[in-house]
Symmetry: C2
Subunit: 302 residues, 2 copies
């Protein structure tokens, strides 16, 4: 099998990495996606000069065989043509976060026009796209995040209907005021007590897409936090709650990329990137992102 050598150009830092971290052995390469330029190659499929996106991890240079490239764990793809848009979007709206929003929201929440949608982690790479896709589908959208500046961006730039700062008091009352007819769909990046409150205000046959659980990522199994139980709401309102990993839709991958690209070109889908410069700043960028320092997609430029 012919191999190629690629050099990292942009690397991704994402919340899900925190959840996988405890399962990684000391001394292994940390996981993650990157955009890399092919700088040497014996492969016709992967020629010099092309850009690829793949799960190479936190490393600057990678040698990959054509066979390894097909491995779902690496899932190396030649980057599609983004026109005049920046390459880094292959890690964001035109990559895994974009498809996470597209498939994870539409396939699991199945939103209907006029419904009320709540998104937690709303200013993040995925949440900011989910809210906009919900608006495209004719829903009323309530975004939850922990910073008023982010809230202004959600409302003024992205067209969210309401913003709730979960760090302020009276979260349940504020949510009830924003969603007087109850919540139909909930796209959850956070989990924990916030989610218990949202579930308590859901309507009959409400749908919950569980994308992440950042509220529990700093805990081991035995020290996970507790939150108000929700089974009573789940029964009474006949709620459906489903967790997902976006690779479930690997066979439809390009459908999501092309749809998001189309929405961007129509001006319906906006994105923001928080770019940190320098490979050596990967860890700082990762921690900043987990602490909510980013708006939109957090990437590192080598």
């Amino acid at each position: 099998m012919e191999s190629f050598l690629s050099e990292a150009v942009y690397l991704s830092v994402d919340p899900y990495m925190r959840a996988y971290e405890p399962r990684l052995k000391l001394g292994t390469v940390f996981i993650g996606s990157q955009i890399a330029k092919i700088i040497d190659s014996k492969s016709k499929q992967y020629p010099v000069g092309k850009y690829v996106v793949g799960q190479f991890g936190w490393r600057s240079h990678t040698i990959t065989s054509e066979e390894e490239a097909k491995d779902p764990e690496l899932s190396v793809r030649v980057l599609p043509d983004f026109g005049s848009l920046p390459l880094s979007l292959g890690l964001g709206v035109l990559g895994m976060p974009g498809n996470t929003a597209y498939f994870g929201f539409l396939e699991i929440c199945k939103p209907k026009e006029g419904e009320t949608v709540v998104v937690s982690g709303a200013a993040g790479a995925v949440g900011s796209l989910v809210g906009q896709i919900a608006k495209i589908k004719g829903c009323k959208v309530i975004g939850i995040a922990g910073d008023d500046e982010k809230g202004k961006w959600l409302i003024n730039e992205l067209g969210f209907d309401h913003f709730i700062n979960y760090k302020k008091p009276h979260f349940a009352k504020t949510l009830a005021a924003c969603a007087p007819n109850g919540v139909d769909c909930y796209f959850d990046n956070v989990g924990g007590e916030m989610s218990s409150t949202v579930l308590s205000q859901m309507n009959q046959y409400g749908r919950v897409s569980v994308c992440g659980a950042i509220s529990g990522y700093n805990s081991s199994l035995s020290t996970l936090p507790k939150a108000t139980i929700t089974q009573g709401f789940i029964v009474m309102k006949q709620l459906k709650i489903e967790g997902f990993v976006v690779l479930r839709w690997a066979d439809r991958w390009m459908e999501g990329i092309h749809q998001n690209l189309k929405w961007i070109s129509e001006g319906k889908l906006k994105y923001k990137e928080t770019v940190t410069e320098g490979f050596d700043n990967m860890f700082k960028a990762f921690v900043d992102m987990l602490q909510g320092g980013n708006t939109g997609k957090a990437v590192v430029k080598v």
Copy 2:
């Protein structure tokens, strides 16, 4: 519209009543199903001598018009022919609990042969049937209840593979020992910390049918207990969790009754009733049942 007068013969006490109780106004008739004999009638559809099952509540005598009988809130049906089986089964295995087990387990958990199924509230009217239906479908069945005598009944009479007494220590370890390959389906009558533990041991694409939440029934919204958060497991294992109210399958009602009747006649489905005598003992029977005093279906004989 022609009316009929019916006299209660058997009344039902069920866990779900506890959940509805806080929403009932003082002075209204308490909710619930009963088997009643028609003792006077101007209706050809509901003639004297026939038995009906309906949501008449905790009352001895009821006058119902033909129109009222059709109201889903009352849902009065002439009792089908049970052959030599007791009439009271119309409140249990051949009534709402039977259909709750049949539809709520099969339609939501969609069990496959060889899978591992966990049932909480396993010795109750619904749970004891769910475990047996899971065995009929070729699954390995683990029942959870709070009394070793009940456990013996589940294993020796109903054919459950394992029984776990949740009141004993090391629940998580015991579950892991009973389900070394993980849990595929969970039929939940209880909720709370027990459910967090079961969810932490579920397999990829596991399904959870949430039928009840007895662990939270004694609390108001603001005093609901807390339990370990589960969003991390829901995402990582791509779990699907769905709550239901059995009336969702009202249009297929007789399918469940006939299938359960067939399984009884084939010796595949066994039932037990805990019968309390006397209308005046309704409240005592209700509280006993909530405290786990019953095995199988709790009914009151007038």
